[in-house]
């Protein structure tokens, strides 16, 4: 290896060094985002195994298609790929769900009661009880229950820290849509988490 490097000419050595730098840069980028990507996928699927598969697919597609781009372009592109994988997963699940619902139709099953789903106004709210650890579970549930676009807007814009333009690029929608989804997500989360108290 060292001998190979010694035999290289100046430009070859520079090119090899750049390639190594690129390799390290993209690995650093993936290492930085992979945990948050997993959590985002987990909110969407509610299953860790499925979420791991989605993140792995997203990493493969991102490196293959966009690995040669400049590092500044990577964040919105990576999240865009993951967002696309999550959408595909939901689409497949909807189709499968329709078939299963048709096969396992049970008219005696009780319908979901929307009154039961409302937050109890007398309840102090989980974020008021951070110490007991229920807040994390409540947050997971609240995020998982958000509509997909609202959740993505909240996580990408506020947690991941993308600006509105990059978030819109990652979500493949207009900047106005990002603002709308984010605003609705905040209203929903505030209501679910009792943060207004």
């Amino acid at each position: 290896m060292l001998a190979d490097r010694c035999l290289m000419t100046g430009p070859e050595r520079l090119s090899a060094a750049t390639a190594v730098d690129d390799e390290q840069a993209i690995e650093r980028f993936l290492r930085d985002v992979e945990r948050r990507a997993l959590r985002m996928a987990e909110f969407a699927t509610r299953q860790r195994e499925e979420a791991l598969d989605l993140v792995q697919d997203a990493m493969f597609a991102f490196v293959r298609r966009y690995g040669a781009r400049t590092p500044q372009e990577w964040p919105p592109l990576f999240w865009r790929v993951l967002d696309s994988r999550i959408h595909d997963w939901h689409r497949r699940r909807r189709v499968r769900g329709r078939w299963l619902a048709w096969l396992e139709r049970d008219e005696d099953a009780p319908a979901d009661d929307p009154i039961l789903a409302l937050a109890d106004p007398a309840e102090p709210g989980p974020l008021a009880r951070l110490a007991d650890g229920e807040a994390a579970a409540a947050l997971d549930a609240a995020l998982a229950d958000l509509p997909l676009r609202q959740r993505q807007a909240f996580l990408l814009r506020l947690w991941e820290g993308l600006d509105v333009t990059a978030t819109a690029r990652a979500m493949r929608c207009s900047e106005g849509s990002v603002k709308t989804h984010l605003s609705r997500a905040l209203v929903n989360l505030r209501s679910r988490l009792g943060a207004h108290r």
Binding site: E27, R35, A135, L139, D140, R157
Partner: protein, 117 residues
């Protein structure tokens, strides 16, 4: 968490999210690491800027247009197919009798003196 939230509850929410990402178990982290390494080992699509790609397509289209234009011009300028020579044409409609009588015509030609003679 990268942004400074305006409302305290958002800050607490993002802190919880950070903690949930930091507290992943070892098996999950190992799978993420393996996935990352596998993704990095695959070949990548070479990226070209959009304008270069557009220029490439335009160049290819231009080259094709020139090639077809040149071929069209050559087709237009191609010499017409040669018509059969009159002598050959004369033989085309002659039946086998003509060839049988060739000796006779040769004799007649030799026997009759030319008017110029």
């Amino acid at each position: 968490m990268k942004n400074g939230p305006e409302e305290p509850w958002i800050g607490r929410t993002l802190a919880l999210l950070d903690r949930s990402a930091d507290d992943l178990d070892a098996a999950t982290l190992s799978r993420l690491r393996r996935a990352r390494h596998a993704a990095l080992e695959q070949p990548r699509v070479a990226w070209r800027p959009g304008w270069l790609l557009g220029g490439g397509f335009a160049g290819a289209a231009l080259a094709l247009a020139l090639a077809f234009g040149s071929a069209g011009r050559q087709a237009l300028q191609a010499p017409p197919r040669l018509a059969p020579a009159p002598a050959a044409e004369a033989f085309v409609d002659d039946g086998p009798e003509f060839y049988e009588d060739l000796d006779f015509y040769a004799w007649l030609d030799a026997a009759q003196p030319s008017p110029h003679d």
